[in-house]
Subunit: 359 residues, 2 copies
């Protein structure tokens, strides 16, 4: 088992990464948590694979365990679905000393974490992410929330877990499209701040696609280290943390315009990263030969390298205008000054963006 610490002062917590960890969850958490009770939040697909093993391990360690099974998918990441967690917590009389455990992907993690943040004004929270995307992205950083019809993640909280338990064994049951979507975020860490990791990924992409355990553990660990480093520097997203949104401003527009759940988040981010890289090349910030390198890696990872055919500039601008990255009416973008060197900028004018999108 690999272990790394996310350093956030009094809110620091460990990430455990290894094979077969779900079966050891009870022991791991018994030492970490004071709570007598646990509420597992999951969805029917994940429950079919892993709920039994997790419950057994937690009950074996003496926890009293409840569960809420939410409908599966980004389309259900709403305030309405979120309320079901409170209904379950109150029906089973969970007190302020309970712990909410998210067993699932990013949608489950975001909703369960936001519920933990708000139940009786805050109870303990643990993540057991079961997709590659959630293992390398949403399980680190404390962002929780739900979507609003007018925008993604518009309602939420910054709320840190007490621990994150990453069992790479679960990736064996992940559909190939979702696995690839997770790789988009893995590649992102190389692009924004770790050129050596990007080179490592280019070398190991075939073994990664074959889901070799040792390579998975290395890729997940280095991704989490990269994210933990950046979040540790900027927990509340005042500055450098925004670079984690490379590809996300364009990506969110793609997801929103297609209807959430049509394009996977990672797929939209992959296309968004290519767009950000292209704009960076146009501005003369990124060397032209880096672009085919990025495109090659994304293709090998089974990812799209362009937005949906026929998605108009106006459609992008419509959704970018209410994106959280808007500050005082200017669009902030994350662009590249090189591989491993992302920057937050509002130097690009609205006209330049429009011209770029139309081309």
């Amino acid at each position: 088992m690999r272990s790394l610490e996310v350093d956030l002062g009094p809110r620091s917590y460990p990430i455990w990464i290894g094979e077969g960890l779900i079966a050891q969850a009870g022991e791991c958490l018994r030492e970490r948590l004071m709570s007598p009770k646990i509420m597992i939040v999951t969805n029917p697909v994940v429950a079919g694979h892993y709920l039994g093993a997790l419950r057994q391990s937690l009950e074996g360690a003496g926890f009293v365990v409840s569960q809420v099974v939410l409908p599966d998918g980004e389309a259900y990441k709403t305030l309405e679905t979120w309320q079901l967690i409170f209904d379950g917590l109150l029906a089973d009389k969970h007190g302020r000393d309970t712990t909410v455990v998210a067993l699932g992907g990013g949608v489950i993690g975001d909703m369960a974490g936001f519920a933990a943040a708000c139940y009786q004004r805050g109870v303990d929270f643990v993540q057991v992410p079961t997709t590659l995307l959630s293992q390398v992205d949403s399980s680190v950083g404390g962002k929780t929330g739900v979507n609003h019809p007018a925008g993604k993640n518009m309602i939420g909280a910054f709320y840190q877990p007490k621990a994150v338990l990453i069992d790479v064994t679960v990736l064996n049951t992940l559909p190939v499209r979702e696995f690839s979507a997770g790789l988009a975020e893995v590649i992102k860490y190389g692009l924004i701040g770790d050129a050596a990791f990007l080179a490592w990924l280019e070398e190991h992409i075939d073994r990664l696609m074959a889901r070799e355990s040792a390579v998975l553990i290395e890729a997940v660990t280095r991704s989490c280290e990269n994210k933990a480093r950046i979040v540790g520097l900027d927990e509340r997203e005042q500055g450098i943390r925004a670079t984690l949104n490379l590809g996300h401003t364009f990506g969110h527009a793609i997801e929103a315009s297609q209807g959430y759940g049509q394009w996977l988040h990672g797929e939209a981010v992959a296309a968004g990263m290519v767009m950000a890289a292209k704009l960076s090349v146009q501005l003369g910030w990124l060397a032209g030969q880096e672009l085919p390198r990025l495109v090659r890696l994304l293709k090998a990872a089974g990812l799209p390298i362009a937005p949906p055919a026929g998605m108009a500039a106006a459609e992008f601008l419509k959704y970018m205008a209410v994106d959280k990255k808007v500050q005082q009416g200017r669009i902030r973008l994350i662009l590249l000054k090189g591989i491993g060197e992302a920057v937050v900028t509002d130097a690009v004018t609205a006209e330049q963006i429009q011209t770029f999108l139309e081309a």
Copy 2:
């Protein structure tokens, strides 16, 4: 204008108390806030009296102002009503740099504050409390939230405002029953930690009931000072802050059993404080002669001194069992060891409480 600082380190904020402050809100806030936009959250009753004046003052100081008018009353303190605030914020394209201003009583303050805590994971928040209760209680301390059918304030956040602006002039339009309900919390501050203030209240209760401005300002200021002192010692309610819940465990049971909105919060707290005092006398913790003194003061303030006739012990226990004051299955109570000396205790057994409630 009186001013006091709530000392919470980086989350410290000022409370301004005086006459006619709503008309000066724009100037006061211009120096305090960076945001270009403001969203006022209020209800139709308060809007009829003060929304125009507040808007005028804020717009005069250069803010772009939106408004959401929520239905009035505790019955609407729900997740469903709360969502209307997000609908308004997104419809008017408020960004992460907006400020939510609560203009109203505790229900408005709790819902607007909770929306500010969650909108784009947290935007600035200002309170303009318009009831005596919210001026002395919910505007200090950062508790925000909504009710769930299974319990009061079960969903919420700790979230501090950037400033609180208390205009005692607004109390002139407050219905007498609501004014009295506010006095229950004022009296509570004397009971739990400020015997001198309780004596001052006994002397000034008639002038207070006549709503003399100078006496109101003094009572509100000393109440806020008391609350600010306690919250400053214990922001997250780990210890001493729980004494602020004197009368609330019994009071919440009364409110919940009668249906929210039938008994006002302060009325339920008044009856709950008498119950807590009686139990304290029975335990030999409080001198018997203090009880008629408390009853006399509450009566002079126009408050009930007993729970609803016919409310059974079982009814109390049903609602107390999911109260947030339950820790590890034991009921924590706030009781009195003297006037001005409240304690948090789990020394009273469930049987003792049942016997007390049945008597």
